[in-house]
Symmetry: C2
Subunit: 198 residues, 2 copies
Amino acid sequence: MERRRRVPNPLALAVLAWLLWEPMHPYELGRRLKQTGKDRHIRYTRSSLYMVIEQLDRAGFVTAQETVRDSARPERTVYAITEAGRHEVHDWLRSLLAQPRAEYPHFAVALSLLSLLPPDEAVEVLRRRSAALAGRIEETRTTMDEARADGVAWIFLVEEQYALALLEAERRFVTELIESLKQPDYAKSWQETMGGRV
Amino acid sequence: MERRRRVPNPLALAVLAWLLWEPMHPYELGRRLKQTGKDRHIRYTRSSLYMVIEQLDRAGFVTAQETVRDSARPERTVYAITEAGRHEVHDWLRSLLAQPRAEYPHFAVALSLLSLLPPDEAVEVLRRRSAALAGRIEETRTTMDEARADGVAWIFLVEEQYALALLEAERRFVTELIESLKQPDYAKSWQETMGGRV
DNA sequence: CCCCCTTTAGTCAGGGCTGACTATCCAGCA
DNA sequence: TGCTGGATAGTCAGCCCTGACTAAAGGGGG
């Protein structure tokens, strides 16, 4: 199927995408990532940025173009995307969009162990989650509204829209789950099977 | 807030949970993980299992109980959970359930770069995704039905139910997105802004 | 003119994770 | 008896990633 990428870190895709626009030095890349809020959906730290660029260089997807030293700042290497890099962006993007891949949300692991908690405790923590989710949903909505008010086109907000859809689905799921856990039969059967164990 | 765990890998939580039941050697743990299908929501390989158990040992959450050598097999170390380990399971589980944490689905990254693809190409790959999602949904439903037919209680299928909820939400999102991309205005504005660039 | 805080820019040690490898036992078959 | 394939069980080199650190420039207050 999908051969493994030479530089699998998603941050690399974002870097390549920016370099499609114009050559840049690492710090500038980092700044744009933050500024445009694209770092909200990518695990980004400055150190991993440098690492990833090094990897991209080794893989031949970018090349060091020149080393600028304006006045006295530490020297900054400007990187440009290569032809192989352009190809990689396109190919990677297509494959990410076309094939859903197994991701491993922490919540799923926790759910698979839900039976370890006494029913009332489970209900309590899930209520807290539900409230937190409501907060996230609010935040996301606000971010989107603000962006739209600034004239940002919908296509550049599509990842927020997706995040929102997932958050809302999770919220609905949690609400229903809480209801199921509150049924007296559940408390009863939990007592019977787990009562002494935990 | 949430202090970082001594052994942050979710596989560690699953290991501790099984050891709550009874002491076991690593290979046995791995077998049960696979058998019960719990490995579907955890990144599991044998090597990481050994690594994680080593880490749990260093952290004091498990202890090597005895080294069995039946007949001629390579010796197997049986591990038992400690009091600190019990506490860790409980605390970690509560915190995973109560606090949604930022996860970084690859699809979100790809979506944030969707504007790089010509509209018809975007539609094509998203249609493929939609079909793949339908397949996953089918699979998950079948797994759940089979388990229920075997008499498995709903509480032990709750993580599948969650996976299903997310898959369905994603599918709905993708369907709507395809519709938006098919609007003639989008093709037009894409031509205008990106036309020459890509 | 000195001090201190913030911003800019980058490095690196240390530990985590994975793919690839090793080694033994047993069953079946020729 | 000897060979082969599969299940059992574990190890390890090497890359990847992160948190913590370094360091210089600019700016503003005193």
